[in-house]
């Protein structure tokens, strides 16, 4: 479903700012890929380049979704194709209430795909159900989007959006960071319940503990803008035990 080939990315308008230095990654339908790597290695950059963030430029390489290049698409168009990014640091948006915003998001998607918009009634039902499922305090979601939310509440709110929007390619950027054990389980249950043959996940995480709940098909190690190792779930265990030392040495040696 998702193919990334030799992806090089720099920061817009900054010379010599290459962050991703030739990434190859292929995520098949229904697969869960975990990406691990040290701080600053480019995990969030990769996630955001996939979503079409404004301040990165792809200098080389290609990203295709179901065979079509998405490089020229805007973020909203990528969302319409079924992509979703749960942000590592979700923005705080005063005055915008999650209910209204998610309804607008679903409506835009339906419109772009020529599908019928969900009625307010059905949407409310879905929304309330998902609010319950992710364990968000219902009074919170009546407030402004993420404004004044705790770190954990923001992450739950990302899960709420993920579950309401039901994307076909979901990227979770450290959604497990800063979560208590219960919330971690909610994230895992959310992903597991949504796991289906038509839906793929890219899960960026620092902790193997999440992978105890969500069993990934593939684990990638991203160091210094490159994928330096790919393997099965056992790779996460190895990282947990030994850290990234050996990769850092080799990547410096090749640099």
């Amino acid at each position: 479903m998702l193919e990334i080939k030799n992806l090089h990315t720099s920061v817009l308008d900054i010379d010599d700012s290459e962050i991703l230095k030739g990434i190859d990654l292929s995520v098949g339908k229904g697969e869960i890929h975990a990406i691990m790597g040290p701080n600053g290695s480019g995990k969030s950059t990769l996630a955001n380049v996939l979503m079409g963030r404004f301040d990165y430029v792809v200098t080389e390489g290609e990203i295709t979704l179901d065979g079509e290049s998405i490089l020229d698409l805007r973020p909203d168009q990528r969302a319409h194709l079924g992509m979703f990014l749960a942000f590592q640091y979700p923005a705080e948006i005063p005055g915008v209430r999650p209910w209204q915003f998610l309804k607008a998001a679903l409506d835009s998607k339906a419109e772009a795909r020529g599908e019928e918009k969900m009625t307010v009634r059905n949407f409310s039902k879905l929304f309330d159900e998902k609010v319950g499922a992710v364990g968000i305090n219902p009074t919170l979601v009546k407030r402004s989007l993420n404004e004044g939310f705790s770190g954990g509440e923001k992450k739950r709110n990302e899960m709420l959006q993920l579950e309401v929007l039901q994307p076909t390619l979901a990227i979770l950027d450290e959604t497990d960071s800063g979560l208590d054990v219960d919330a971690l389980r909610i994230v895992a249950e959310g992903v597991n319940s949504m796991r289906s043959p038509g839906r793929s996940f890219i899960v960026v995480t620092h902790y193997q503990r999440l992978l105890n709940y969500i069993t990934p098909d593939v684990v990638h190690i991203l160091v210094n803008g490159k994928i330096v190792n790919t393997g099965g779930p056992e790779l996460a265990l190895e990282v947990e035990k030994d850290g990234y030392k050996k990769y850092l040495v080799t990547s410096e040696a090749t640099a």
Partner: protein, 451 residues
């Protein structure tokens, strides 16, 4: 005392109308004649303040276009209730007073004879000497060196009078609608409102300014409110003039012990508009909240001239305005809090936040605190920023296109103030006007997508 410069802008334009008012109202109470005369003298000395240099009050506002125009006096047109409902907030449950072209209109008004509420024509209240009108009117506004208040007071004749008797708690809002009729002539109006909130009374008061005309109009509304001990006035001000008009309003409130005055303004209309509001906290325990939202586009100018005087101890004041500016529009926020020597334990905050949607806008924000007491808590600040790329991206990543995302963010910025409009029919109205206005603001926006 400054001496009048040799040529005062636009005094002569108004003097024939003033002379004929004097002739026509020989039978008016002597005190009223004296009030008018004094006000006319003040206006004659000031004229329309077109000189900006050295004039703190008008430094950022060019009134030359106003001084250059000719406005007719004394024309009153026809207005229907349906027209009012179409362009302004309305609720049959409210006691509504309608003033057309400065004249109180009994037929259009919707008064329910509510116990404890005295509401009606200001002209009647003056001629019958209702309540404390003689000792109240033009004492808060009219004897000061302020051109438009003076001009309005010189022509003081009619308008609306609202008194809430002591201990009366009104359940439903009282609305006063000032409407300019659709006559084609450019006219000047002198809307006037006097509110007398008795001890421990409570009222929700909606002050609405509507304009059905297409040509440029000039309105100088003056509102005086007396909040007696323990009273509570929840005030809303809605300004919906047409985009060619001039709206230079004065609101003056005097508050006594433990009274509360809370006001939220919604200003979207006029070519040049000023909302000049001053609260005098004149007894211990009084508190006031002055909030508002202004939206400007095209070549509009909106001024907020917001001031509070803490004259006595243990009072609190809170000024908070938000502005959304687009096109080549201009907004001024001039917030002032004066804490007098005796006003210990005062608490004052001032904030003005602006969202700039285009590069061509101008914002002059000057919050200021003048503190003469030593035991005071005070904070002030002003900001002006653009729509944030980060938040825009967040919305876009959920599938909302950039235009819609911008609209959501602009709406979100306004939300906080819109939510203060509590009466349902009023809230629905300001929301609707905002939602209709946002596309026009965004159409003149150029600060995004290129940043």
């Amino acid at each position: 005392m400054t001496l009048a410069p040799p040529s005062i802008a636009a005094v002569e334009k108004y003097s024939p109308a003033y002379e004929s008012l004097v002739t026509a109202s020989a039978a008016a109470p002597e005190w009223l004649k004296a009030v008018r005369q004094q006000a006319w003298a003040t206006y004659s000395e000031l004229g329309i303040p077109v000189k900006r240099r050295g004039n703190e009050l008008w430094k950022y506002t060019n009134l030359q276009p106003l001084a250059a125009e000719d406005f007719r006096h004394g024309l009153t047109g026809e207005v229907s209730v349906d027209q009012l409902k179409a362009v302004g907030p309305w609720d049959d449950a409210w006691n509504t007073l309608v003033v057309v072209d400065g004249k109180f209109n009994t037929e259009l008004s919707n008064l329910h004879g509510t116990n404890g509420l005295v509401a009606g024509s200001l002209a009647d209240a003056i001629s019958t000497g209702t309540g404390d009108i003689e000792s109240q009117i033009a004492t808060l506004a009219g004897r000061e060196e302020y051109a438009f208040t003076a001009l309005n007071t010189a022509f003081l004749d009619d308008g609306a009078y609202v008194a809430i008797e002591r201990d009366t708690v009104l359940e439903e809002p009282v609305q006063v609608v000032f409407v300019t009729s659709s006559l084609s002539e450019s006219r000047v109006n002198y809307p006037r409102l006097l509110v007398d909130a008795g001890e421990n009374s409570s009222v929700v008061l909606i002050e609405t300014h509507l304009n059905l005309a297409e040509e440029s109009q000039f309105s100088t509304p003056v509102v005086e409110m007396f909040a007696h001990a323990g009273s509570s006035i929840r005030h809303y001000r809605v300004q919906m003039e047409n985009e060619k008009s001039f709206h230079l309003g004065t609101t003056r409130i005097r508050q006594l012990d433990d009274s509360n005055f809370t006001s939220t303004s919604f200003a979207v209309g006029a070519s040049i508009a000023r909302n000049d509001i001053h609260t005098l906290l004149d007894a211990p325990g009084a508190s006031c909240t002055l909030h508002g939202l202004y939206m400007t586009n095209g070549e509009q100018q909106q001024d907020q001239e917001i001031s509070t005087t803490h004259a006595k101890p243990h009072c609190t004041s809170d000024q908070f305005y938000k502005g959304i500016l687009s096109g080549k529009s201009h907004a001024v926020f001039s917030g002032k809090v004066v804490v007098m020597r005796d006003a210990q334990k005062s608490d004052a905050t001032q904030k003005d936040l602006n969202l700039l949607l285009s590069r061509g806008v101008e914002i002059d924000a000057k919050p200021s605190l003048e503190i003469y007491a030593d035991d005071v808590t005070a904070a002030h600040g002003a900001t002006a920023g653009h729509v944030d790329r980060e938040t825009l991206y967040y919305l876009e990543s959920r599938g909302v296109d950039q235009e819609a995302a911008k609209a959501i963010l602009v709406r979100g910025f306004a939300e906080e103030i819109l939510n203060e409009f509590e009466p349902k029919s009023l809230h629905d109205f300001v929301e609707k006007v905002t939602d209709e206005r946002i596309p026009a603001l965004l159409a003149e926006s150029d600060t995004l997508g290129t940043a």
